[in-house]
């Protein structure tokens, strides 16, 4: 095959390329790249944070998706070409990223007081402010089932998830030891308070894997948060672990017959962090301050069922954005009825044991 390209087309292509590059550079000053997890979650942020922020400041927001972890941030920081300005991070990644110097330190004194006048450090839930990040939401991993698949008794406890005799059918689990092992131990009768103590010992790790062995043959593994509602909807599994907001979205917005079992939920935080050397650091900080005010956090909660990180936002949570008669309060992971048996994911435990347990878990998977 020969490619015929005369000088004119070549020059035009070159000019176009240079033009876009120059345009991109000019744009950079006016825009902010916000990175999050995609799907219904990003939509809730766009509605509650991005749109009002652009309206207020005129700064355009470019929304990008990622799948968690620090790999991209590490690559950008090491290459000294940081294109992400602000990133929605899990707590364990914040702890690690902060330790390794991948994240900018945040001046927490810039956070405004809550709408009730309480200072920021008292208004935010305990543990939600970090040297390198500020939390926006409390989210949780639960398991959910398709209620049309269970005519008689319905699953109600975390142990039911692993009881393949009582509730036959395929299970969906995240292909990751994190939360999976905690679920297994709680199902085996370990109290939430003792889970991480148990999991730090070899006997405890083996015990968790032994519980997982009972459903290994009928498990479908998922990796991205959008997969579990899809697996349930396709009938590929009858119950699956999932992020509560995703299941809520499928049930509330798409009318799917999915039910959440809150027993044994493992909750965690999502926080805004700024990668070290971000190009638009100032605008990123403005965005962080803006989006974590009482009103904005409460506004997000009307789009997705994740609990706001500020106490003053909780009374302001209204109803579901597209269904005015549906109150969001009872769907929050932190609602008292849902929070009876709950475990906070321990970032310090996972910082220590993730390499070892990942290796063990992956070896167990390949067996």
């Amino acid at each position: 095959m020969t490619i015929k390209m005369n000088f004119k087309t070549f020059a035009a292509a070159g000019a176009l390329l240079v033009g876009t590059m120059a345009f991109g550079a000019a744009q950079a000053a006016e825009s902010l790249t916000v990175v999050s997890w995609g799907g219904a979650y990003t939509k809730s942020q766009v509605e509650a944070y991005h749109k009002p922020f652009t309206k207020k400041t005129g700064i355009e927001i470019k929304s990008e998706n990622y799948n968690g972890g620090l790999a991209e941030i590490k690559a950008q920081v090491e290459a000294k070409n940081v294109t992400w300005d602000i990133v929605d991070l899990e707590l364990s990644d914040v702890v690690r990223g902060c330790d390794e110097g991948l994240l900018e330190k945040i001046d927490l004194s810039k956070l405004p007081a809550g709408s009730d006048g309480k200072a920021a450090k008292d208004d935010f839930l305990p543990g939600t402010l970090h040297d390198c990040a500020v939390a926006t939401i409390v989210w949780t991993t639960i398991y959910a089932y398709d209620s049309s698949k269970f005519k008689g008794a319905k699953p109600t406890t975390i142990a039911d998830f692993f009881d393949i005799k009582k509730f036959p059918g395929k299970r969906g689990l995240r292909k990751n030891p994190k939360v999976t092992l905690e679920f297994a131990l709680m199902a085996d009768g370990v109290a939430p308070g003792d889970v991480y103590k148990t999991l730090a010992t070899k006997a405890g790790q083996d015990r968790a894997l032994k519980v997982l062995d009972t459903i290994k043959g009928s498990t479908v593994w998922w990796e991205a948060g959008a997969q579990p509602p899809q697996l349930l909807a396709d009938g590929e599994v009858v119950m699956t672990t999932a992020y509560n907001g995703r299941i809520f979205n499928a049930a509330a917005a798409e009318g799917k017959p999915f039910e959440i079992v809150w027993d044994g939920q493992v909750w965690d935080l999502d926080l805004w962090g700024i990668p070290k050397g971000a190009k638009n650091k100032k605008a990123a900080m403005d965005f962080l301050v803006f989006s974590t005010t009482t009103e904005q956090l409460a506004a997000q909660a009307s789009w997705i069922s994740y609990g706001p990180a500020r106490k003053s936002s909780i009374p302001k949570i209204g109803s579901y954005a597209t269904k005015p008669d549906m109150k969001m309060g009872p769907h929050m992971p932190t609602a008292p009825a849902n929070f009876k048996k709950a475990l906070q994911n321990s970032p310090s435990f996972w910082a220590d044991y993730q390499d070892e347990l990942n290796q063990k878990f992956n070896a167990w998977l390949t067996k």
Partner: protein, 419 residues
């Protein structure tokens, strides 16, 4: 000979320079021009391909953190034999080093690095680094009080192990081995072995995919090559269309077709081949991976085969038959050997693509359809253990080079025909 040389040496061009020099200059200019023309491509390939790969592979043996940020501890452990806990001097050196590491912001990276080797060390390092500045001699008891891990010989052995800047630690880990406290290579406990199994599985699945591509692709290529042009062009589109379709689209289509509530299972239930309870698991396992990869890589087999078969003149077959050979004999003795360059090229192409395949196994592999590339991606993206990822990648690269060498010995690279 000498006369002729002398004669040329005596000749001169119009402006008075010797002819020999003028000729040499002209040739040199020509060569320079050729080099300059190749230069952009060479620079491009070097910067975007060779240099990054070299840099990445370098990470698999390079381990600068401990030697750079714990120089005193490394010196104190130089003659330590791992029979007993090191002396007070080592504890004092460690306290000093960690205090400096905290100040320079390296403590976190140091902690991560040591934690890859021995689980639990991360918090030990970060906690000790935070308090190191406030400690006073003697340090031994105080450090053990901060974290009991300092009372383990294993902790110190890990520091000693990583104190050499260049080491094979990552390669040992990539082959399910580790260094024990006396720096001997020993196999990992059984419940942590994973990579050797995965390498073997990757090899096996690539072979299965290559063979199924050959079995499916050969008849198609033969038909394409022997049909008249107006029919074969249409069929060619059928080969090329999926080739041009996005990889993700094709992979997810296979999920729709093969999942337990999917099209194929529904059809089998409808025709009473299986009952509703006995739906077959065809995806999210090794079977699904092989099926999807075979379909995706099939064009890479068909196209080289087709281009080789197209050049084989039908007269050879006719000649063989007219000399009395049976159709099958003629096919096997005359036609088949001529397609060998195409078979070789197709198999090599499919095999090399398959052995490093990533997206498809990640999406449809489930637990037993994972390949080594998925583990490399895991260490690149999730655990951030780039050294181990580089070592795994390095082993894969060496494996491919060996296979290529074997191929060259058996078939010969000069017989390779890609189209």
């Amino acid at each position: 000979m000498t006369n002729a040389a002398n004669a040329i040496a005596g000749l001169e061009t119009a402006d008075g320079t010797p002819l020999k020099a003028a000729l040499a200059r002209a040739l040199r200019r020509k060569r320079m021009r050729a080099v300059l023309l190749v230069m952009p491509l060479f620079i491009f390939v070097f910067l975007t391909f060779l240099y990054p790969i070299g840099l990445m592979l370098f990470r698999s043996i390079d381990n600068p953190l401990v030697s750079e940020h714990m120089p005193r501890t490394v010196a104190a452990l130089k003659d330590w034999t791992a029979d007993d806990l090191p002396g007070e001097a080592a504890f004092a050196a460690l306290t000093q080093d960690l205090e400096d590491a905290r100040k320079s912001g390296a403590a976190g990276r140091l902690a991560t690095n040591l934690n890859y080797q021995t689980g639990g060390l991360r918090s030990t390092i970060t906690r000790t680094a935070r308090q190191a500045g406030k400690l006073e001699a003697p340090f031994k008891e105080k450090l053990i009080e901060i974290s009991p891990a300092w009372g383990n010989i294993e902790t110190w052995a890990t520091i000693k192990l990583l104190s050499d800047r260049f080491s094979m630690v990552q390669y040992a880990a990539a082959l399910d081995r580790k260094y024990d406290i006396h720096q001997n290579v020993v196999p990992l406990p059984e419940d942590q072995q994973i990579y050797v199994t995965l390498f073997m599985r990757t090899l096996w699945m690539s072979i299965v995919v290559t063979v199924s591509c050959l079995l499916l692709g050969f008849p198609i290529a033969y038909m394409l090559a022997s049909l008249p042009l107006k029919h074969s062009n249409l069929l060619m589109i059928l080969v090329l269309l999926p080739f041009w379709t996005s990889l993700l689209v094709r992979t997810t289509s296979w999920i729709v077709l093969l999942q337990t509530q999917g099209v194929l299972n529904d059809l089998m239930v409808f025709f009473h081949i299986i009952n509703d309870a006995g739906r077959v698991q065809l995806i999210f396992n090794a079977t699904g991976t092989v099926i999807a990869m075979t379909q995706i890589l099939l064009p890479f087999m068909v196209l080289p085969l087709y281009s080789v078969m197209k050049t084989i003149s039908p007269t050879y077959m006719r000649a063989a038959q007219s000399l009395g050979a049976h159709r099958f004999l003629a096919y096997g003795r005359v036609y088949l050997p001529q397609t060998l360059p195409g078979i070789g090229a197709g198999c090599l192409l499919v095999f090399i693509l398959a052995i490093g395949y990533y997206i498809t196994p990640a999406l449809v592999g489930g637990q037993d359809g994972q390949m080594i590339s998925n583990m490399i991606a895991f260490h690149m993206q999730k655990s951030l253990n780039w050294g181990l990822a580089a070592a795994l990648g390095g082993i894969l690269l060496v494996g491919v080079i060996i296979l290529y060498w074997v191929y060259n010995k058996i078939v010969g690279v000069e017989r390779l025909k890609l189209g």
